[in-house]
């Protein structure tokens, strides 16, 4: 494993060197901007589209979180997204008022000041009472849904650490009652994953996936795994794991996994997305500002289980 990591590091270093970029590891707290190119947005940026970002496993309060947050602010300047979905592990460790500040409010201050709304789901590291935190917009609930401010989209934030019968019944009720074209679920534990450390939550998948299929969920975002992975669409659903907004488990994606459409476990990242009509566009951006994945996806239609393929 160590050899593999070294090889990866070497390959990356060479790539950076070849690109003529400074091979500098930023010192903690002394860099205004992590080394690397400026963020470039490849999304179409259509008028009237819903623009949002996705982060997972973000709440360390460490250098990587701040650097990713700066990249997000750069991206926002080019691509003013309305909201951010948080995929859990929003605050690692202690959760005193100063921790909320250091691990959330301060790194994302430029976005919060610009009026970007964050919507949190809870991970296994999160205190349950985060549900009351005003800037997480959970409305006091461990799981909730909300309609996006633009386009015909509804998001469903689930609590994957405790999927009891009450919640599953709620999920079914909410999905059934939702008339939006786009239904997007987000929560902490991935139903599909090529992670060597955790892997998929198969028991959870057995309960949730039939509901997602029955009620036409098009996309599912999860964290927990400290890397980026876009899964080959499963039964027409786009599954994406984004758990590297601060934490990183380098080299953890199992090589040659048949379900990986695109994986990135070399650095931290975040994802920006855009929905316009039946199309969703996505772009994953590394802490260094590089685009590590991009493509589009067509929503599932209610009369079929097949969504359009994700493509680059």
């Amino acid at each position: 494993m160590r050899c593999r990591s070294l090889l990866r590091l070497t390959a990356r270093s060479l790539a950076i060197f070849a690109a003529g970029l400074p091979l500098v590891v930023p010192a903690a707290g002394h860099q205004n901007k992590p080394a690397g190119p400026a963020v470039a947005i490849t999304l179409p940026q259509r008028e009237g589209s819903l623009k949002f970002a996705v982060i997972g496993d973000s709440g360390t309060g460490g250098r990587q979180q701040y650097e990713v947050a700066k990249r997000m602010a750069e991206a926002y300047a080019l691509f003013p997204f309305e909201l951010v979905l948080m995929l859990g592990d929003n605050l690692y460790g202690s959760e005193r008022p100063q921790d909320y500040e250091q691990k959330f409010a301060r790194p994302y201050k430029p976005l919060l000041d610009a009026g970007v709304k964050f919507y949190a789901s809870l991970g296994n590291h999160d205190d349950r009472e985060q549900r009351l935190y005003k800037l997480f917009n959970m409305g006091g609930d461990l799981y909730y849904s909300f309609k996006a401010p633009k386009q015909d989209v509804r998001f469903f934030a689930l609590d994957s650490t405790y999927p009891d019968r009450r919640q599953i019944e709620w999920v079914e009720r909410e999905l059934k009652g939702a008339g939006e074209d786009w239904k997007i679920a987000f929560f902490h534990h991935p139903l599909y994953s090529s992670g060597g450390r955790h892997g998929p939550s198969e028991d959870l998948r057995k309960v949730l996936e039939p509901l997602f299929l029955k009620y036409n969920v098009s996309a599912v975002f999860a964290g927990h795994e400290h890397f980026y992975e876009r899964i080959v669409p499963q039964k027409g659903i786009l599954y994406m794991t984004s758990g590297g907004a601060a934490k990183l488990r380098e080299g953890n994606i199992r090589p040659n996994s048949p379900i990986t459409a695109k994986g990135f476990d070399d650095d931290n990242h975040f994802v920006v997305m855009e929905i316009d009509g039946d199309e969703m566009f996505f772009q994953a951006i590394s802490r260094r500002g590089e685009t590590v994945d991009s493509g589009s996806f067509r929503r599932r239609q209610s009369d079929t289980t097949s969504g359009g393929p994700a493509s680059r």
Binding site: P97, D99, N124, E129, L132, G140, Y162, D164, E202
Partner: protein, 196 residues
């Protein structure tokens, strides 16, 4: 039907089968009480104890200054600390096993073992243990340390165990099962060797 339901059903059937040869004689009085399934009785008792805990929880929560659904971290911390303090004071005499009584512990171990049978069960068990990072001191009324992740509880286990009110959750700490008050953030009760 839940795993617990299945097991209780099997237990009832087994009880009935065991009594089959003892056909009551016509001379027996008709006022004989119907047989009580000991598992069902223990679970009913468990539910009753949880209900009593919840009544106390609700009474104390109602006495606290209300917290809005959207508030700041200081109010969240104050509310939580105040809640835990009052619950702990009100339950000063609480002991391990007050809710997880010996018969309940026995049933829960059997039910969880049943839910985790087979290859997928072994994988699930590993998934639960996976999030256990360091020992958590288990103490009734003790707080759950915020630097330790909460175990995720798979649907299969939650489906198998008696349903709890939303203020209380089952969580695993290594092989131990705790009842966790998710508002006061305290350990209500715990049982050892819950996972096989």
């Amino acid at each position: 039907m839940t795993v617990l339901g299945v097991l209780l059903g099997v237990s009832m059937l087994a009880g009935a089968a065991g009594r089959a040869p003892q056909t009551p004689s016509p001379a027996q009085p008709q006022t004989q009480k119907p047989p009580v399934n000991p598992d069902a009785k223990a679970i009913a008792d468990f539910n009753e104890r949880v209900k009593k805990y919840l009544e106390l929880h609700n009474t104390i929560e109602a006495s606290l200054p209300s917290v809005p659904d959207r508030t700041d971290p200081k109010r969240i911390n104050d509310y939580q600390a105040g809640f835990a303090k009052q619950m702990t004071a009100a339950r000063a005499s609480a002991r391990p096993g007050d809710i997880f009584t010996p018969p309940v512990r026995k049933i829960f171990r059997r039910v969880i073992r049943h839910a985790l049978r087979g290859t997928s069960g072994r994988e699930l068990r590993a998934e639960i243990i996976d999030e256990y990072t360091r020992p958590v001191p288990l103490r009734v009324n003790g707080s759950y340390p915020s630097d330790i992740p909460l175990s995720s509880v798979p649907p299969r286990i939650l489906e198998a165990l008696p349903r709890l009110p939303e203020e209380i959750e089952y969580r695993f700490v290594d092989r131990q099962l705790i009842l966790f008050d998710n508002h006061a953030q305290i350990i209500v009760d715990y049982m050892t060797n819950a996972l096989p």
